[in-house]
């Protein structure tokens, strides 16, 4: 019985490979180098949601039915994010990075994989409070047009504000958090001043090149969805896009250790994933 199951499992892996290859060749969406464990889980989940028995059946529908393709792409990506996610990261940014940035006349910042923008608005608030915002330009990019549209709008659910307010204060914020937004029914809209120096645009880390030189790059919780090869390539791209002594930020559970650029950065402190390019 277990041999049968193992063979079925191997077959499924083959079908998943074919589906991803087909998706790439037909539409240019390239998930071939994403971390397979999590991609597989979401594909099987979608197969169940579409009430299909095999990955091949899902492939047929994805390739021939445009609305299914859209559902599939949405289901395949993880967009989870939050304002001041991991407050201590932002606290360290305030204490250690802000003083460095104050020595520059202008500061170029890249938020790569910004999802629906919560991270960008958090950063903008912090920079404004530290009287740095005016000399900053933030490039916020993502592969997904749908999330960028939301990021541009800056409208978030009211229900999330309690958590975000807590995060904000833990991250060293001293103002009334509610001063930054206006509530409307069950949503809030963030002050447009926060996005006056932000450019939102599409950029695919897997295929597009560098487009500027930055003093700060944040790429948090994006590369955990990539396999090691793609992760290494993107680390190289980000390294090349960062100016000497520029600051690089990763998600809380991401590491430079397993990448080709580990030796080229130094830690800003032990705990938070903030690094400085020193070579």
């Amino acid at each position: 019985m277990s041999r049968v199951a193992t063979e079925a499992n191997d077959l499924e892996d083959i079908e998943i490979g074919l589906l991803l290859e087909g998706l790439y060749r037909a539409y240019g969406f390239d998930f071939r180098e994403y971390s397979r464990a999590s991609i597989k889980r979401r594909i099987l989940e979608m197969m169940r949601a579409e009430k299909l028995g095999t990955v091949s059946a899902l492939q047929e529908r994805v390739l021939h039915d445009a609305t299914c393709l859209e559902r599939f792409l949405l289901g395949l990506s993880v967009h989870a994010t939050a304002m001041f996610r991991d407050p201590s990261f932002y606290l360290t940014f305030r204490r250690k990075v802000v003083p460095l940035l104050k020595t520059y006349p202008t500061v170029q910042i890249w938020v790569a994989g910004c999802s629906t923008g919560e991270e960008v608005y958090s950063l903008a608030i912090l920079l404004q409070e530290e009287r740095l915002y005016k000399r900053c330009r933030i490039y916020a990019t993502d592969i997904s047009r749908a999330v960028l549209r939301k990021a541009r709008d800056g409208i978030f659910p009211l229900a999330a504000m309690r958590e975000y307010t807590n995060n904000y204060h833990q991250a060293g914020g001293a103002n009334e958090f509610s001063d930054y937004y206006t509530a409307q029914y069950d949503s809030v809209i963030f002050s447009t001043a926060l996005k006056s120096n932000v450019v939102f645009s599409e950029h695919n880390l897997a295929t597009d090149g560098s487009f500027n030189e930055f003093q700060v790059i944040l790429c948090r919780n994006v590369m955990i969805y990539f396999n090691k090869d793609l992760q290494a390539r993107v680390h190289n791209l980000l390294y090349d896009s960062l100016s000497m002594f520029g600051v690089f930020g990763l998600g809380n559970k991401e590491s430079l250790k397993f990448t080709p650029r580990a030796a080229f950065y130094e830690h800003l402190n032990d705990k938070d994933k903030l690094f400085r390019k020193v070579m």
Partner: protein
Amino acid sequence: MSFEIIVVGASTGGLKALQVLLSELPVEFSLPMVIVQHRGKDMETGLCEFLARSSRLPVREPEDKETLLPGQAYLAPRDYHLMIQSGSFALSTESPVGFARPSIDVLFESAANEYQDRAIGLILTGANHDGARGLAAIKAQGGLTVVEDPATATCREMPDAAINLTKVDWILPLSEMAAGLHKLTNSTKRYES
């Protein structure tokens, strides 16, 4: 045949159960052990240190793409799903599964996929059904399934759910768990050589 990993799922009552298990496993227990313990979103981050204090094996929260090592216990970090892919950890923040992130099912399914019949799955105390599906996946791939005896578990729902879904190989009270696992992994090794 020899095992290469043991994955462990625990929920309500799990802190105590894990403490007992980790304090009784001998230092020479060599399989990497990967643990999902449910915890509230706001629960303090000291869980890993807490477990490490009573464990004879080193315990750590893995980072993304970290390689699994023998003789090491790993605890899934708060608010991330933990999976195993090509001998390394893969983390994810995709939505909670049945309200749980980390989810036991997610870890167990990836272990079944990666290790097939070389995985051991262990379900401990808990007041929900997480892990039942994952344990079934391990069984389907020919791995070994172990469940804490519901009769003596702090919360029996999770062990019960696992037993209902899968014809599990071993049902052991917590007091015999460490010795049982040790014997099991030891004897299969001897058998191998």
